[in-house]
Amino acid sequence: MKSAVIVFPGSNCDRDLAVCLRDVTGTAPQMIWHRETELPHDLDLIGIPGGFSYGDYLRSGACAARSPVMQAVVKAAARGVKVLGICNGFQVLTEAGLLPGALMRNAGINFVCRPVKLRVENNQNAFTARYAAGEEVRISVAHHDGNYSADEATLDRLEGEGRVVFRYAEAVNGSARDIAGIINNAGNVLGLMPHPERAAHLGQGADDGRRVFESLLGA
């Protein structure tokens, strides 16, 4: 599988995602600097990592969504290349319009970093095929703005179309309908707040996140 990880100024989970992709897929991803305007044509996956792109200035993900490389990501997504946005990457995807809704400040106001219980709501996609539908897993979150918000019609549509992929099984950040991760209509763009790359092997305390990458490999 050929993958790339986008690096914005202030990204700080880029290495973690790259290491995880290398370990699980056997091939190191290309690291793509935010100033690039084109992406390699044969990519299977684009990873948008966690962190604080552009220092979270303006709004989390807002500046990154307007950086040169994101035009190329939007085009690649339209071609069907899979895009995985984790944490700040999810925020970037919503700001870029690749996914609906927005990630607001956590309801509890504070930054929250801990393992949380998630339910895999949908395994009929390239990102979660290796999970059982309804399976409960533990993956850590680490965010200040993870409170998923969208209007009722959008939320109903996401639910109706089976696009809520991960749902919190405990109170975390006040997200509407406990949404932790959603997918686009075409099924090739996933955004989620939890960090599967931090739960890729048991040395990290849990390996529940590994199957996201194994699913991609098998797809």
Binding site: N12, N110, F111, C113, G205
Partner: protein, 750 residues
Amino acid sequence: MTNPAASTSAITPEIIADHGLSEEEYARVLRALGREPNLTELGIFSVMWSEHCSYKSSRIHLAKLPTQAPHVICGPGENAGVIDIGDGQAAIFKMESHNHPSYIEPYQGAATGVGGILRDVFTMGARPVANMNALRFGSPDHPKMKHLISGVVRGIGGYGNCVGVPTVGGETNFDPAYDGNILVNAMTVGVADTDRIFYCAAAGIGNPVVYVGSKTGRDGIHGATMASADFAEDADAKRPTVQVGDPFTEKLLIEACLELMASDAIVAIQDMGAAGLTSSSVEMASKGGVGIELNMNSVPQRERGMTPYEMMLSESQERMLMVLKPGRESEAEAIFLKWELDFAVIGHITDTEHLVLKWHGETVADIPLGPLGDDAPKYDRPALSRDAYKAWALVRPLDPATIPESTDIAADLLKLMASPDLASRRWIWEQYDHMVGADTVAPPGGDAAVVRVHGTEKALAITTDCTPRYCYADPYEGGKQAVAEAYRNLCAVGATPLAITNCLNFGNPQRPEIMAQFVGCIEGMADACRALDFPVVSGNVSLYNESKATGGGSAILPTPAIGGVGLLKDWRKAATCEFKASGEAIILIGGQDKGHLGQSLWLREVMGRKDGSAPPVHLTDERRTGKFIRNQAAQGSVTAVHDVSDGGVAVALAEMALAGDMGLYWPESLRLDHPGEELKFLFGEDQGRYLVTTVDAQSLLSDAETAGLRAVVLGQTGGDALHIGAHAIPLATLRAAHEGFFPKLMDGEL
């Protein structure tokens, strides 16, 4: 503070006093220059001779600390200490205080404390891999305390989370002595290749001096001077001296510096911390035995009309000073521009051994470097004798007859587990990204944090420790204990302790009783470091931690915070404290059970008394027990390890049970050196002890006997309650007590 419009104003006694210089020190300035200084020069002397930068009251005592060992690559004197961790790699670390700014403006004070210590570490070529902190707050019910706690924790998280360095642990204590002067000590550990370590000594006459990072503004002017005086009633009026941090810029600065450091373009590099451009330029030139000339018009400035005085004293954050090899400027500039950071050649190295500042073509300062650095004032301040100190400290001896024979042990334990000093710190560390980097093996909450050395089997163990109430009761024993506890916490995760950094927080050194605390703690630390082969490789001194704001000029408790670093050859062998499986034997190893209740948390929290001596530390036993524990962990013959410290055996057991969500049975009569004294055994804070669990008690007991260590089987794991003698304390009750304190405090329910 007088804010000069120009650098040529006449120097009046008021201006000298405003700059925190004594008459005697000003006379010394006159001798050093052979003339009157101008205002810029006076400002430079003022910050360089501040306690914060010159260590003038502490230097002669710091020299007592052992700093050498075969694994020490670089001891105190550089930006941070460097130790060898094998395979051509080094760990680089330091701890530093940001106390005064954090009291005045807790979010920015704590955040810039983290930023400053990170720079000390990556300046030397290391990628920062872990942050730790040691926090001391006042009484939880003090009207200002919730604001301070919340601000400090958010500030540490806000900065560390954004730069992407995990905050993996620390310690937090409460005592009314910190009501008007909280302590925020931040520690960073980084990893570098031993052949890629960068130092600050400038070299090469004519080499360019380069400024990188953020622009210079008017923030933080005189921060170092502020940090070198007691708080008067007007602490709030000092707010403009607090710097404002930008962790995003710091992240860019880390990446840009490390990228440039991969080449050989850098001769020397120094971060601009306290006293900013002044101390960085003076230190680089002094260390290199050269001179330095800076053109102030070239300094990147955030505001218009800044004077050399302001530029030299600004403590704007996220800035570095470098000396480059000649001709390498454009290569370096390209890297910094890529990361969208300022880059400016602002001067060059000279052979004058003077600091010379030019502005609009004129010389606006010309100071010989000697008097600013090595020949700065140094004081041997008077200290009370040990006996005179004891009399002053008013610590009453603990009369055994005044301790009740029995009490409700279950109620006492619940009270202790819910008390501010022992309650779960989850509310704090869940606000820190403690996992970024994906190398955190042991999250906060254990004896020491364990972080993998990226891409290797190795791991670093890191801990911060100090028990200020012991240090107050007996500075010498307290200093020893702080080092010994750091040692113990590293051994408890299976790591070999290698070296320490320290952050010495004390009151006003011009008071003989405070100097007695300082000297006593240093001497205790020195003896412990020597006996444990655990040298000091870096450190920081923070004096004048006193506040008149709370009425009375009260000093903090003496707080020599220790940051210990150890090495695990295989991160998979890291020991953790939680009970793993039921039916395992629980064994107490090492030390002696004298039932030392003096200065114990039980005595303070349950009886409301602060009496008695600090528990003594037996250093040879400490070392032997630590080695035994490490070996057992490495062999995998223990399933859990936890050191016995605050709150004694009962609290340690409760912590192991909560962490593993598994109870214990201790049905036998307590095995005591002094039968019948259940209370003393459970809550005594005798030193040098560990609790372990094992599936093979016989072989562990026999190993302990061979090693000459005492080992006592206390009971076994299992169930969902602590069954201690006739008591049964449900884990759920214990957990509610333990987890409740911080959320309730911060929600205003306490």
